[in-house]
Amino acid sequence: MSTTANDTSRARGKAPAGERIADWADGRLGIYSLAKANMRKIFPDHWSFMLGEVCMYSFIIIILTGVYLTLFFHPSMNEVVYHGSYVPLQGQMMSEAFNSTLHISFDVRGGLLVRQIHHWAALIFLAGMFVHMMRVFFTGAFRKPREINWLFGFLLFVLGMFTGFTGYSLPDDLLSGTGVRFTEGAILSMPIVGTYISYFLFGGQFPGHDFVARFYSIHILLLPGIMLGLMVAHLILVFYHKHTQFAGPGKTNNNVVGMPLLPVYMAKAGGFFFLVFGVIAAIAAVAQINPIWAIGPYRVDQVSTGAQPDWYMGFAEGLIRFMPGWEINFWGHTLVLGVFIPLVLFGVVLGAMAAYPFIESWITGDKSEHHILDRPRNAPTRTGLGVAWVTMYMITLVGGGNDLWATHFHLSINAVTWFVRIFFFVGPVIAFIATKRICLGLQRRDRDKVLHGRETGIIKRLPHGEFIEVHEPLSQEQLHTLTTHTQYAPAEIGPAVDENGVERKVTASEKLRAKLSNAYYGEDNQIPKPTSEEYKEITSGHGHH
């Protein structure tokens, strides 16, 4: 170190340690420009915008606890005799995977708690993603420019399902073994390729000696790796697109109103991480999950009643349970429709969610950017479709637990199954119609509120004896919030003849699109919001209502 350098720094006074570290890092990483661009990034405030955070934090918790579990878990199907501390399994033959999971549960310090945090966090992660996805759906946040991010989120949900499935199959217990057998059956039901895929996956006949080790690689490496990448991409896109916001005074399609990332959101998000961790740890400390010691080791000749998958796969279980056991024989080949149709439906029902943004944008012809969220009532057809989808999903979940519905509500399992069969089709229709009517009713109420004010509940008696309810006019902010949404006109087919008077060929898809567009924006499918003329006219004379 030279003397001159020392002198100058002493003359200016030594910079604080933090600044010197930042300088050091900036010279190597260029963090100043990065921080300058992003530190003051604005995020709007709403509790429902934190659902994604719940997912991200539970994912981090899963990774942290998962690392701990890998230190003690042996992904092997070698048979061993149990000599651990759980008495009711003493001397039983089991796989090393099951044995090591028992070891984690009873003989590793903190093992059971970490296992339970891992498993509870997984259930909550998937539930969080489901609700987060619904929030994005019902507020229309998937519209341009966020369609790709919607797909990333959708992929995260689907990959989360399969990461969860491969995870709970690892202990090689009787319950998960039954689930793996179920999966093998679904794979086998695929025409032509089924047997090949099954033999490839299990390395021969089920269960073989390979699947735990293979699921282990998939569970701890392949799927979480992809998910981590997708999650980062998801977040980068959130930064790039900026967060959506609900309509309100001062909030436009071209700005974001909220708090800066630093320091407000850093503090909030950091604190929220610990809250999420705390809640999940508390649940894991209080409630038992997947007690594999009570379930017992997997053996192909054993099975228990009440064998359900974790909730996010319950939807697949339900599809299988309520599907009639059809099969057809074709030139000596059996096509097990009773399993294959549910397998196809599994993809179709989930795929419908992935495809929805593109379908809606095609129908409505809306290609503009949207940064202001819709209130669900202002998009009655979309909201109706969403509720119909959720209804279908929930009915299928009921089907997946049909035996527990039967025993706990003293019903016949056949009656529950038939209910599910019928309501799988009827339920979504009822839900769609009811939701749409409710949305339109709420739109009418908003219209009334804008034009006539808020009902105060105060009854006034006029001098001539008439009773009226006093309506209080809304504030300017409220009026803005209730009337700021855009109302679209349905897409027209266009003139039947072109500018030269030649008859134009109208394609079937154009006709279909016009019809569907009418279902979204047609006369009966949205209530015209009050215009300023209407508002002026009605509020010009006082005392009218």
Binding site: L89, S105, A127, I283, I295, G296, V303, S304, G401, A406
Partner: protein
């Protein structure tokens, strides 16, 4: 030999042959006849049967027929044995309130154990069947819990769930929970196969096997069972766990999110 052939026409020869034949028959009978019945105290046994018959005529005959031969409302009880009576009446399933419904549920017992024994003795007198097990048969001494668990998962879990929490059968029938069921009744149920349950006679599931299963159930599904992980959530597996995760897990987190979002920093001083 000559001596014998000379005396074969003796006036007492027929008597001697008859005596020999009787002794042989009696001896054979004594050697092969069921020991329990032969040694029973005939006097008190017949009195118990008599009392049982009286109870039967009042409480059971309307469905099972006056001689236990059965009717359109109830099956014949000839040959079901004392164990079946002790199980059905001892768990309150019999007398059933009605022959309608998918299945007769367990309910409060209406007879005392003495009365049940009397009924059982009467039914057993109608035809031989499984007898009521002794405490030595169903007690915990000498039981192998782990073996019992293996047997339970192989033979019972299909209907009664991993740890005997019960499950659904077709058309409203069900396999009941085994929690809080008297070990004797579990033994008898295996022996006799009540309602929809298959029977597991000693040839299928030995007495020792039954003892093991009972000991296993006591270990995993009784008031003395400990749950190292915390609340058991009904022991029903992923359905109740999923409900719990949604309601208490995600529910709590959404409540926390609402709380955090409501406590916002002020952008400008006001």
């Amino acid at each position: 030999m000559k001596k014998l052939s000379v005396r074969r026409r003796h006036p007492l020869a027929a008597v001697v042959v008859l005596l020999l034949a009787l002794a042989a028959t009696g001896g054979l009978y004594a050697a092969f006849a069921p020991a329990g019945k032969a040694q029973a105290d005939a006097g008190s046994q017949s009195l118990t049967i008599k009392e049982g018959k009286k109870l039967f005529e009042v409480g059971c005959a309307s469905c099972h027929g006056t001689g236990g031969q059965g009717s359109s409302d109830g099956p014949s009880l000839v040959g079901v044995g004392a164990a079946a009576v002790d199980f059905q009446v001892g768990t309150g399933r019999m007398p059933a309130a009605t022959s309608q419904g998918a299945q007769v549920p367990r309910k409060k017992t209406v007879y005392t154990q003495t009365q049940i024994d009397q009924l059982a003795a009467y039914i057993a007198s109608l035809g031989a069947g499984p007898v009521v097990p002794t405490k030595q048969q169903y007690g915990p001494d000498g039981a192998d819990i782990a073996k019992g668990g293996e047997l339970f998962r192989t033979n019972c879990a299909q209907c009664h769930n991993f740890t005997g929490k019960g499950g659904a059968l077709t058309k409203g029938k069900f396999a009941p929970t085994l929690e809080g069921v008297d070990p004797k009744h579990i033994y008898e149920a295996m022996q006799t196969g009540p309602q929809n349950m298959p029977s597991f006679p000693d040839t299928t599931l030995s007495s020792q096997n039954k003892k093991d299963i009972i000991a296993y159930l006591h270990a995993v599904d009784s008031s003395e069972t400990t749950n190292p992980g915390g609340l058991e959530l009904g022991g029903l597996g992923p359905v109740s766990e999923g409900l719990f995760a949604w309601i208490f897990g995600l529910g709590a987190l959404i409540a926390v999110a609402v709380w955090v979002a409501a406590r916002t920093a002020k952008a400008k001083k006001s």
